[in-house]
């Protein structure tokens, strides 16, 4: 039994305290929630999720991690770029960091004091120039050796997707529906094109100058960069969240509506589709004679070049990232997985796995 000395005040205090605690718990210091960014160079895998981790690609041994202790505010989510002895990545706190590939020590850090962005997209290094888009609407061009700002280009809205470049032009997809083409040397806009929907992944640039990208309004689009025109656009079932794979005239990709597509890169005609039981968020990667795909329901499977299903393995957790390590080995990562990285050979046999030491 309780007494009613001033129930209203008591309830008010309890209510405010609980409200404040919940709000703080919901937002403050919460780690950034995203799938890992993966890249591969030489004999190493680079894993970006909260920290940057360099892993030996032959056996899954951790080589270094940066920073040494996880820091939610300065977390990394985008795959880093490897430029010789440098590993370059942007974090969620408006900083681009270059790390010595051997030691894992910081070489330089760039921070635009006027910017307030997050680096969601991976950087691209072209001729010692780092190109990295930010959610603060700017594409930053930095000197890869020093981290000095060379130029910056302002889009109409936040930039979430990485860029492609042929060494002269930079192709920048925006969430503002525009594809920007920028002079790599000067940072000046050459031309732009409204593609009708936000673009969330980097374009694929073919050797013949064709660009392949998708929009959030469920279209896969081919743009002839030299002619500055859309060659074809195909409506697809679902959204594509990572770059498609261009292989031997085929454009292969999965969607979040449980479909795998292969389109003819020249015409956009559908070569085949495969239905899956889970959403496909990760890019397909080549493995053996087929393509390895990872699904959100934990399925890892092979689709042959002709569109037939091969072996399937099931992991506990959600697969959102994939990476080709060699002709005969590929890695998958994601969220809620037992291991941060799991590798498979072309026959579907599980090879090494990675978890941070101590886990």
């Amino acid at each position: 039994m309780h007494t009613f000395s001033s129930p209203k005040s008591i309830w008010k205090v309890i209510f405010l305290l609980a409200l404040a605690s919940l709000m703080l718990a919901a937002c403050s210091g919460v780690a950034v929630n995203n799938w890992p960014g993966l890249s591969h160079a030489g004999n190493a895998v680079y894993y970006a999720q909260l920290q940057l981790i360099k892993i030996d690609a032959t056996n899954g041994t951790q080589i270094w991690r940066y920073p040494e202790k996880p820091d939610a505010k300065n977390s990394f989510i985008a795959a880093p770029a490897v430029n010789g002895r440098q590993v370059i990545a942007g974090n969620m706190n408006n900083e681009v960091i270059a790390i010595d590939d051997e030691s894992g020590q910081e070489l330089w850090a760039f921070r635009d004091e006027q910017g307030k962005g997050r680096f969601i997209a991976s950087p691209l290094v072209v001729n010692d120039t780092v190109l990295i888009p930010s959610t603060d609407r700017y594409l930053y061009s930095l000197d890869a050796n020093t981290g000095q700002l060379l130029w910056r280009f302002k889009a109409r809205d936040a930039l979430w997707a990485g860029v492609a470049s042929d060494g002269k032009w930079v192709y920048l997809p925006g969430t503002d529906h525009y594809l920007y083409v920028i002079d790599l040397a000067s940072g000046k806009l050459a031309w732009e094109m409204d593609l009708g929907g936000s673009m969330l992944h980097a374009p694929v640039l073919a050797p013949d100058g064709m660009l392949y990208l998708s929009t959030i309004v469920q279209e896969m689009i081919a743009v002839d960069a030299a002619q500055q025109k859309v060659v074809w656009r195909e409506t697809i079932e679902g959204k594509v969240w990572n770059p498609p794979l261009l292989d031997d005239g085929r454009l292969v990709f999965g969607t979040d509506k449980n479909k795998v597509y292969a389109l003819d890169a020249q015409s956009g005609a559908t070569l085949w589709t495969v239905s899956t039981t889970g959403s496909i968020i990760a890019s397909p990667v080549k493995l053996g004679d087929g393509y390895l795909l990872g699904a959100e329901n934990g399925e890892v499977f092979i689709v042959t070049r002709e569109g037939a299903r091969g072996w399937t393995r099931t992991l506990k957790g959600k697969i959102y990232s994939s990476l080709s390590l060699s002709e005969n080995l590929a890695a998958v990562g994601g969220m809620e997985l037992e291991h941060l990285l799991v590798t498979f050979d072309a026959q579907g046999k599980q090879d090494w796995t990675y978890n941070p030491p101590g886990n």
Partner: protein, 271 residues
Amino acid sequence: MWDTIIITPFTNVLLFIYTLMGQNFGVAIILFTLLVRLITHPLMVSQIKGGQAMQELQNHPRYKEIQEKYKNDREKLAQEQAALLKELGINPFGSCLPLLIQFPIIIGLYQSLYKAMPHTPYDMLVLTRHLYPFLDISRILPINNQFLWMDLSQPERLVLPFLPFGIPVMAIIVMATTYIQSKLLTPPSTNPKDQTAMMSNMMNLYMPFLMGYMGLTLASGLSLYFIVSNLFSIGQYALLGKANWRNLLPKPKAVEEPEVKKTGKPVRGKK
């Protein structure tokens, strides 16, 4: 369950207002906050009335009598109080139940604001999965986060050309409105030794700093929500005539009284 009933409908209504308002997310936040607060207005009125009934009860002669009579028997005191409440037709939960019903709505409002401003591709993936079919995603994305001088997805600072640092205007307004709201909403206490009143006063000091800190560090879209919500509460209380404007004025200083008054001895001389 929580997502389906609260977060998803809230997020969709917020984004629907956003599309109606010419893709101005700041105006959408303001209108959405006002809409939710208007819908919960009857609950607020019920809460105020319940609170007032409890306040009046404390001045009721029989309540005082019971308190005095059973001051050494807490169980009996509680029983007698409950009987009195029943007799007078006062629901002891009249003030707290509407508050508890509002609780998930306020949390949901806050979470839907956060959800509508995705920070990562995964957040975006989750958002696109929660959009109702009637919303045209090509019109929603990208969400225009610019409102006045602010990027609503980022903590706000007003940068002036002659100052080397940015001024957290929104955090200051959040603090000020939270302070004013809590002062206006606090009923005057008749008993200076009332512990709950003291706790309430502490909260009145503590909450503005807590909310100010949140305004300083979280996305300014949330600060905008806090400010609109605070101003709405102030307006609600003012319209219902329950705002204690005197609480905002400095209290007159206590004057030292003559010793004779304190001891209760006669103040007049002999006749």
